[in-house]
Every structure is written in C-alpha cells, then in structure tokens.
Assembly symmetry: C2
Homo-oligomer: 241 residues x 2
C-alpha cells in the first residue's frame, strides 16, 4: 500500500512499513466481507497477525486505516507549497500542481482507491472522516493562497473561493474516474478540470509574451453587450492561444 | 431559538417548540460552562427540566443540538430551488439567493450564532458535524445546478465548482462577521462575496440589453497580450456597467 506519495508516518525498519501495509490490507478485506461496523480492531489485528498495540502505533482510529496515505500526502503538499522554488510561479497554477499530488496518490493504487470509494459511499462514519480529510487539503491550499494574495483587494475571499474551486474540480474528476471503475489514467480528466479552474482565476497567461509594445502584442475583443461573461473569457483565451 | 428560517422539524403544539428551545438553551449554556465533552445528555435534560426521551424526539445526537436550525434551513432551501417560479432566473444567481437563506438563519440570532461559532472552533466533534452540514447545503446547490446545466459542455464539473465557490464565498463572509463578534448586519459583506462569485460564473449580465444590433450594443476591449485574465474581465464588466 506504500506508494511514492505516501511515506509511512513513523520511518523505521522495513518490517514496520510491512506491518502497516498488512493492517490496511486486513482491514479493507474484512470491511468488504463483514461490513465496517461489524469489524472490530481485534478482528483486524488477528487477520494481520500483529498485536493490538501495533494498530494504534500506526492509526488513531478504525476510520483512519481506510485513509492510510493522506497524512503523507498532506505533509508532501505542505512541503511543496512551502518550497521557495515555487514562489515565482502563478499561485493558482501552484495550488493546481499541489492538487495533482493528491491525484497521484489515488492513481498509484487504483484497486485500493476503488475499494475505498465503495466503502466510503456505504459507511457514513467514513464519509464524515473523508470530509475532514478533504477539508485539511483545502485549508492548506487556502493558507498558501492567503499569503500570496495578501495586500490584494479581496485576497482572503479569493483564497477561500479558489481553493474550494480547485478541490471541487479535482474531486469531480476523481469521482468520475472512480465511478467508471478506476479504468485507465485519471490524469487527463483531472487535467481538464483543473485547467478550467486555473483559466478562470489565474493572473497568468503563460503563452503570452510580457511587456512588449509591438502591435502584435495588442489584442482586441469585440462583443455585443449582453454577451455572457464566460463566452468573453473563452474568446479572449482563444485569441491568446 | 425558533426563527422564520427554522421551523421546528416536528410541527406540533407550541409547548413542543418551547421544549425544543429549552433543550437548545440548556445545552449551549452547559457546553459554555463545563465544556462539550464533560456535558452529558442527562445534564442537558435536567437543566431544561424535561425527560431524557424528549431530547431524542428533537435531536439525534449531542452534536446536533448545536445546529438546531439547519434541518429547517435545508428543507427551505430545497423547496426554494425546486420552485418553478425560479426557472426563468439565471441558475448561478438562483443558488446565490439560496445561500442568502442560510445567512438569514445566522443573522436572525447573532448571540446564538456567535456562541456556536466559539464552541465549534474548540470542539473537533462539532467541527466535523458542521462540515457534514455544510456538505449537505453544497450538495443541494450542486444537484440543482447539475439539472440546469444538463446538456452543456462540462455541466457536471461546472455545477460542482460553482456550488463549492458559492458556499466558500458565503462561509468566508459569514466567518468574518462572526470573528468580529457578530456586530452589525452581515448582509453587506455576504452580498459582496456572493456577487463576486456570481459575476465570475453567471451567463447573465442583467443590466445589458439583449439582442439589439445597434452600435451602442457593441463593446470593444483592447488589451495588451499578457494582461491578466481577471483584469480583462474587470474591464469588460466596467464597460458593461
């Protein structure tokens, strides 16, 4: 279950990580066989062949064993957003890149992602747990944007709305992929969704030259009054491409 | 505690609504005095002077007593969105109106809203409960938009992103008001936040005439390549106003 996107929370000898994986595998199998509510932590440790205290060394609750990679992904995302190497990048593009790291975690193990998706749909306690996890991703993105938009009019509002939009777009695309049985690579559909949000909120028009005064650098948009705003934006983007 | 935006879930004689209010008042007072975790349901019913079974007639859990008006507000919102009278309205403007109904619930009782805000910040179980409530509002808005955007390219994506943006804008403004001690009327700051989202996603430019071919109906925007998209949108909006 360990993937590049999910280092074990307590780094240690290989056997530790193996024990953690065994607990996750046993838990998900038992939840599938008997249901989440009917499965106890004692059942899980018995199936995994480890002691009860080992469970709590890796997981604070029965719910959290279904989301074993999120702590690692959250830490990775925070490090990525704190990395000064990204300070020159457009902030909206940066949070879209951060969202792609979460996708990578799901895409690294489609069978497990699918099993979790099905469990989460059936068990209210897991849905609630997932909401809290998603909220932490969104808060990390919003904190980054708030700092980058500081001093700008409506900076705090913009930070909260853009982070919510990025998370909603990511989750929309991720759910489509999971609903279709996690077939193929989810990257393309997520890419499309994130690009839609980035184009709405980004200050950057990456393909356009900057600062030139030549006639080719001037763009003219003519529209009838009453043209929907999204259509104007679409035309401007086409003109810039 | 009963407000125009929050009819009691089980309509009945006035004494019932009074009993429900008494439970909410007792619970919030006890949570403030002894903390949420240290207060039992027995403590609440003793303070309210009612039997233990009465509690569960109104509330499924200790958490839900802190959010007594949300079931009513959710029902009101669903009825509002299902009302055919709104089918001629721009869908994005309609979901903004639906969000204003939630605001009205908070604004109707600032002291209670503030007490809940402080409790919710301190008690993880209440934060999680609130996330689940907010998610239900967002799902109701998304379902409405999905139906209205059906057949449109990226209709499902647009529905999820717009509903998330509306909820984020509403909550951003609501939190500013609560952080400032719930002073004054929150309507203005919420209005500004919702209008910002509406202008981004709405197809409607309500002040503009439609279908005319006269020269005054044509708008020209000239911008240097590399101009940030938001600045182009801003100029277009200024031109349309």
């Amino acid at each position: 279950m360990s993937t590049p996107a999910s280092p074990a929370p307590a780094p240690g000898p290989a056997s530790r990580s193996g024990m953690r994986d065994a607990l996750v595998t046993a838990a998900v199998a038992l939840f599938g066989e008997h249901g989440f509510d009917a499965t106890t932590i004692d059942d899980i440790v018995a199936r995994a062949g480890v002691g009860r205290r080992s469970f709590f060394r890796y997981f604070p609750s029965k719910e959290s064993v279904v989301f074993p990679d999120h702590e690692g992904a959250l830490r990775q995302m925070s490090e990525f957003l704190a990395d000064e190497a990204g300070f020159g990048q457009d902030p909206v593009a940066r949070v879209c890149d951060a969202a792609r790291m979460v996708l990578a975690m799901y895409a690294a193990d489609p069978a497990f992602s699918l099993a979790r998706y099905r469990l989460t749909r059936e068990v209210p306690a897991l849905r609630t747990h997932e909401l809290a996890v998603v909220r932490r991703y969104e808060s990390a993105l919003a904190a980054f944007l708030r700092a980058r938009f500081a001093g700008r009019a409506d900076g705090g509002l913009r930070a909260d709305v853009v982070s919510a939009a990025v998370v909603a777009a990511h989750n929309h695309a991720l759910r489509s992929w999971l609903r279709s049985g996690a077939q193929g690579d989810p990257a393309e559909v997520v890419e499309h969704a994130l690009e839609w949000v980035r184009a709405t909120y980004s200050d950057d028009v990456p393909s356009a030259p900057r600062g030139g005064e030549a006639e080719e650098d001037v763009m003219v948009v003519v529209a009838r009054r009453g043209t929907p705003m999204w259509r104007v934006v679409q035309r401007v983007q086409e003109a810039l491409d």
